[in-house]
């Protein structure tokens, strides 16, 4: 069981609701128990207040100081290659696939169903080898 992730200055967060949803941002300061001041100059999030209900904390923390200027936040973000790390991370991949799933057309959903069926058939074959019929 992983430890809880902390809201702290420098924590990279993923916006999960609203017009900025899908973007990464950095927590630059905490306004109060329900809102943070976030900034994502390289990802298209202008410095603004954001409720914690709209962001999900990622595993990444940047060495950003409180109220650091946007330009320096951008530098830090690029230096640590957060976007690359996020895309390679488990959570990042899950988010990307969820977005892909939501944008599937009907034909693509059909193709997905066919592929799923093929996969489960292969899995069942292998399972039969390991566990023979009673």
């Amino acid at each position: 069981m992983a430890q809880a992730r902390f809201v702290e200055i420098g924590r990279v967060a993923y916006v999960n609701f609203g017009p900025e949803s899908g973007k990464l941002c950095v927590i630059v300061d905490v306004v109060d128990a329900k809102r943070a001041l976030v900034d994502g100059p390289t990802t298209g999030v202008t410095r603004q207040q954001m409720p914690f209900s709209r962001i999900s904390l990622t595993e990444f923390v940047l060495p950003v100081k409180r109220n650091q200027k946007s330009a320096n936040v951008a530098k830090c973000f690029d230096e640590h290659e957060i976007i690359k790390k996020w895309n390679a991370s488990h959570a990042g991949k899950h988010v990307a696939s969820a977005l892909r799933r939501a944008s599937l057309t009907d034909f693509e959903r059909f193709k997905l169903m066919v592929a799923q069926k093929k996969k489960s058939l292969l899995v069942k074959k292998e399972m039969k080898k390991i566990k023979p019929k009673h």
């Binding site: 809880a4 992730r5 809201v7 609203g18 900025e20 306004v31 109060d32 207040q49």
Partner: protein, 186 residues
């Protein structure tokens, strides 16, 4: 200057309204009174200005003119500040003074939050609240309320213990879901 989601932005603006009595033979250069008013637009600002001027200076709208209405735009909304707001409001049984503190990136945001807070905690409607003074508290020792003081911390760090699971937008919401939501914060 719209930044970010409009539903999260504050609607209140701060205006400097200056007005005076109409000049007359006995008083060719009447005193100009100036007020800082928080309102959503100029018209409301002017109206509120007259409300106060009538009570404090004995000038009615019919006897006076507004000399200028200018919006006071906050210089720097890039960092969070702590604001102390002194107010006087009417309760059901009388009038009370209060001092309240709010954290926000701008004074207008803090004042807007004050109105919401007063409505929620004390059922005080905006019309009954007079803002006596507002100060930006730059020194942590001046912050009186422990609630706001705990966030005035450069090394702030706390976990989000309960996460509400929500679809990114209404169209992606599903009525039936196979499993229960996971509310732990990882």
């Amino acid at each position: 200057m719209v930044k970010g989601d409009p539903t999260l932005l504050m609607k209140l603006r701060q205006y400097q309204v200056a007005g005076r009595k109409f000049p007359s033979d006995t008083d060719p250069n009447p005193v100009i009174y100036r007020m800082r008013i928080f309102a959503t637009d100029e018209i409301r600002a002017k109206s509120r200005f007259w409300y106060f001027t009538k009570r404090l200076n004995k000038i009615k709208t019919a006897h006076g003119e507004i000399v200028s209405v200018e919006e006071i735009v906050e210089k720097n909304t890039d960092h969070v500040k702590t604001y102390g707001i002194s107010i006087r409001y009417e309760t059901r049984n009388g009038i009370t003074n209060m001092y309240r503190e709010y954290r926000d990136t701008s004074l207008c945001g803090a004042v807007g939050r004050m109105y919401q807070d007063m409505a929620g905690r004390h059922r005080a409607r905006a019309e009954t609240i007079h803002i006596i003074s507002t100060t930006a508290l730059n020194v942590s020792s001046k912050v009186k309320r422990s609630n706001t003081a705990q966030f005035y911390n450069s090394k702030i760090r706390f976990p989000l213990l309960h996460e509400t699971v929500r679809a990114p937008c209404k169209s992606l919401r599903s009525v039936f879901v196979s499993g229960r939501p996971l509310t732990r914060s990882h």
